[in-house]
């Protein structure tokens, strides 16, 4: 059952092959069997999941047919879930039972999806390997000594290992796409503003975006259909109609112009990965698409720019964690300053503290113009690069990450090397564009992701382009050994 897609499972539920309770039970069994080795989940909600499944079964028997009704999913532990611990992967929030639901969580609840639990992640979504979690590293189901990517590593490994049908993730600099690539699944970061950020614990407000992590593009379409839409509680939410994402799946690709940035191939890219990407591109030309070489000249500036913008916003966003109203508070503070410094010093892990300090520095008097303002200007240049490109092409394609999943501990001592592994994904967040990662031919038994970048609000087009490849090839349906 755990290898089936959402629509297959929904059909099974409707025709009575199995009930949502049975389906949920089978996923819970897999979680209890595999979570020890994978560490994908921080919290498992067995009781409430079975309750939701019972309610879903009643609705299904009453003839309701919503696409996600009774489907077991998981939420990244960055989304607030009322009455359920919401830790954001941090000691700071280890005791935090969210008092309300994130907008995305409410939408899934309304859709009748069953929440199995909350997935592991890099602390406050800061990381590319899931090694920065207070709850320990997550393991990649394809190779347990390898990282699953980050920051949505728990969601990626859970989907890849069949510990949920689909999961939510968030992406600030690649945190959906890179773990999707490392774990061989499909991940979509929507256009900034497409999915409400209300109740999604903020890392960098102008970059953060929630999205689906699934086995297939079709599943991603079903998930995005639920997640996307205007939310008056989020001032940055786009008041734009949500198209029917399923309706466009299967559209013909002939004449599709695929932009291939010259900056994304060669350079620091692993040659085998490049070969996998070329193979997928060849598949697209076979389907009638046309490849166009384009240039995104400011690509190299993406990482440095991101490491000013994101830390600056995070330094301010994370000031609220001060040990006063909720969360971790140090023992026996001797005065107010001690309360702040030790609660934050002990409650945050090293990477979070590094980024808070970089951001604090970049915004401080005398450095604002050279760092923050300069970064905002380059952000404009990067965004203009894409605007230019989309005058000539319909989608942009390239690798999601420069390598396959690296080993746990391999890069954790060197933050800068770790940061550089996000080179292909970061610019998409800076520009606010939608981006996807889908599995292509593996390298050395490890998954490789093809990144698809679309123009603003063109998620439907991206989903179709991804879906078409998945109809013609079976890279996406590979299952890691031991988790069949």
């Amino acid at each position: 059952m755990h290898n089936k897609t959402i629509s297959e499972l929904a059909l099974g539920l409707r025709v009575g092959d199995f009930t949502s309770v049975e389906l949920t039970r089978s996923y819970l069994d897999r979680v209890s069997k595999f979570n020890n080795e994978l560490n994908s989940y921080i919290t498992v909600c067995e009781e409430s999941a079975l309750q939701s499944a019972e309610i879903a079964d009643r609705r299904i028997r009453a003839g309701e047919a919503e696409p996600l009704l009774g489907i077991p999913i998981a939420h990244k532990d960055i989304f607030c879930t009322e009455g359920v611990k919401t830790s954001c992967g941090s000691k700071m929030l280890d005791n935090f039972i969210a008092p309300y639901d994130a907008h995305v969580v409410s939408l899934f609840n309304q859709s009748g999806a069953v929440m199995l639990g909350k997935t592991n992640m890099d602390e406050f979504a800061m990381g590319s390997s899931n090694e920065n979690s207070y709850y320990g590293p997550v393991h990649n189901p394809w190779k347990l000594e390898a990282v699953p990517g980050g920051s949505s590593g728990g969601s990626a490994s859970a989907v890849a290992a069949g510990l949920c049908v689909a999961a939510t993730g968030t992406d600030t600099g690649g945190s959906i796409r890179q773990p999707a690539a490392f774990c061989g699944i499909t991940g979509l970061k929507p256009t900034y503003g497409r999915v409400s950020r209300y109740g999604m614990i903020a890392f960098a407000s102008s970059l953060d975006q929630g999205g689906p992590m699934t086995r297939t593009a079709e599943d991603a379409a079903a998930m995005l259909q639920v997640m996307a839409g205007f939310d008056p509680r989020d001032s940055t939410s786009a008041d734009q109609p949500v198209p029917d994402y399923m309706a466009g799946l299967g559209n013909d690709l002939s004449g599709l112009r695929i932009g291939v940035p010259k900056e994304y191939l060669g350079g620091g890219l692993d040659a085998d990965i490049e070969a996998s990407i070329q193979l997928a591109l060849a598949e697209y030309t076979r389907m009638g698409a046309e490849l166009v070489e384009i240039s995104l000249p400011n690509t190299q500036l993406g990482v440095p720019t991101y490491y000013v913008v994101a830390p600056a916003e995070c330094s301010s966003n994370l000031s609220r964690f001060d040990g006063v109203r909720y969360g971790y508070r140090c023992s026996d503070p001797k005065d107010l300053e001690d309360l702040y410094k030790r609660s934050r010093g002990e409650g945050f892990g090293p990477e979070v503290k590094r980024r808070i300090m970089i951001g604090t520095y970049a915004l401080s008097a005398g450095y604002y113009d050279a760092y923050y303002l300069k970064a905002q200007k380059i952000r404009h240049l990067i965004s203009d690069d894409f605007r230019e490109a989309f005058k000539k092409v319909d989608v942009i394609m390239g690798p999601t990450a420069p390598s396959t999943a690296f080993g746990i501990g391999e890069k954790s001592d060197d933050p800068v090397t770790m940061y550089l592994s996000d080179i292909y994904t970061i610019a998409v967040n800076l520009a606010g564009l939608p981006g996807m990662s889908i599995p292509v031919k593996p390298v050395g038994g490890m998954p490789v992701g093809l990144q698809l970048i679309g123009n603003y609000f063109e998620e439907a087009k991206l989903l179709n382009v991804a879906h078409r490849l998945q109809q013609e090839t079976d890279w996406h349906s590979a299952t890691p050994a031991g988790f069949e």
């Binding site: 919401t86 969210a98 209300y198 509680r233 001032s235 107010l336 401080s364 604002y368």
Partner: protein
Amino acid sequence: MQWETVIGLEIHAQLATKSKIFSGASTAFGAAPNTQACNVDLGMPGVLPVLNKEAVRMAVTFGVAIDAEIGQRSVFARKNYFYPDLPKGYQISQFELPIVGKGEVDIELDDGFCKPVGVTRAHLEEDAGKSLHEDFHGMTGVDLNRAGTPLLEIVSEPDMRSAKEAVAYAKKIHQIVQYLGICDGNMQEGSFRCDANVSVRPLGGPLGTRAELKNLNSFRFLERAINIEVERQIDLIEAGGAVVQETRLYDADKDETRSMRSKEEANDYRYFPDPDLLPVELDADLIETIRSAMPELPDAKRLRFAEVYGLSEYDAAVLTASKDLAEYFEQVAKVAGDAKLAANWVMGELSGSLNKAGLDLSESPLSAETLGGMLLRIVDKTISGKIAKQVFEAMWAGEGEADQIIEAKGLKQITDTGAIEAVVDGVLEANPEQVANYRSADEKKRPKMLGFFVGQVMKQSKGKANPQQVNELLLKKL
């Protein structure tokens, strides 16, 4: 050496919205601690701000009222610092692009001259909560009900040269925001707060180092604190010291200013545009709508009162000091049909009685209609001004409307010539000696002597005889 004082004010006016600037929590004053602090006000993880339309409208209204530049595009920024009453660790404020730009107000000085004071800018921001320093087991308690209440921070140019000017300016802004109905102006409850930037310099010299005075919650304290601070700074400099830039707290009990917690020791607020909020763009139509709906402002009202009602400059100023008073007066004048009479009574008996009872105009036992109704009886000669005072007291005591009281107490003026003549005759008969004296007296002394007879007649008639008729009859008969 002759010293010159330089003062600029930062006024925080709480905007009279129903809900907070970025959340749907109530702004009502006086609720139990933290019962009006919702998840947004508490800075819970994941919550987001959404801007209150009414707060924007009120800010623009103020800008239009002081003829300021309105920022068609304004941006919210975060001011970052840690303090227990600041839940998010930053205050959402405006920095580079405020909603209201340069404007100006005129203040009236004691010598009758007007002086323009520049308003540098006015920007929207959220209020912080309150730290309560009473003893909670040796700790400080934090109430966040006030957190997120909309504030308009109005920053002046350093244009004031004395505590008196500063007070005149503060009162002027206070008057304007109340007239506009955008702030209740209650200084005790903290709805209208002033901080003063004070420095001294040798007359005509370059600007000195300023100290920022806080906790000035009445106009009296504002004046007092500035004067004390000016003295302190002059003494300090004359003794060879130097003023340091710092925040000083005014202690009304000790009547001194003292250096405050180093709240902004590093003074590095790391302002940057708030990524949770987008630029506010005001369309020209909105500004025009606000402009055309602008209520009459104090200066215009004062001029109109002088011109239309023929009031003195002074009376017009007193009656327009607050919008409530001006409206009350106009209603009294309308009912009575005599503006000067209305002005005298509103400023005289009514204000005096309110003062004595410690009541605000809004708590007055007499409505404008009631007072006007009584004045109408003076105008139509039903009662004299003297009797009116008696009626006023009865109305104040809640005995009813003027007509009921006049009727019940039989205070109606006697205008029947026959009846008055009978009283006059009686008085003359009873006082032959005074009659004789009057008749033999010099023409010039007579008017003074007539007073005796008038007094007697009024006494006999219990004040009800029409004084003019009494005079005429007495002159004729004597």
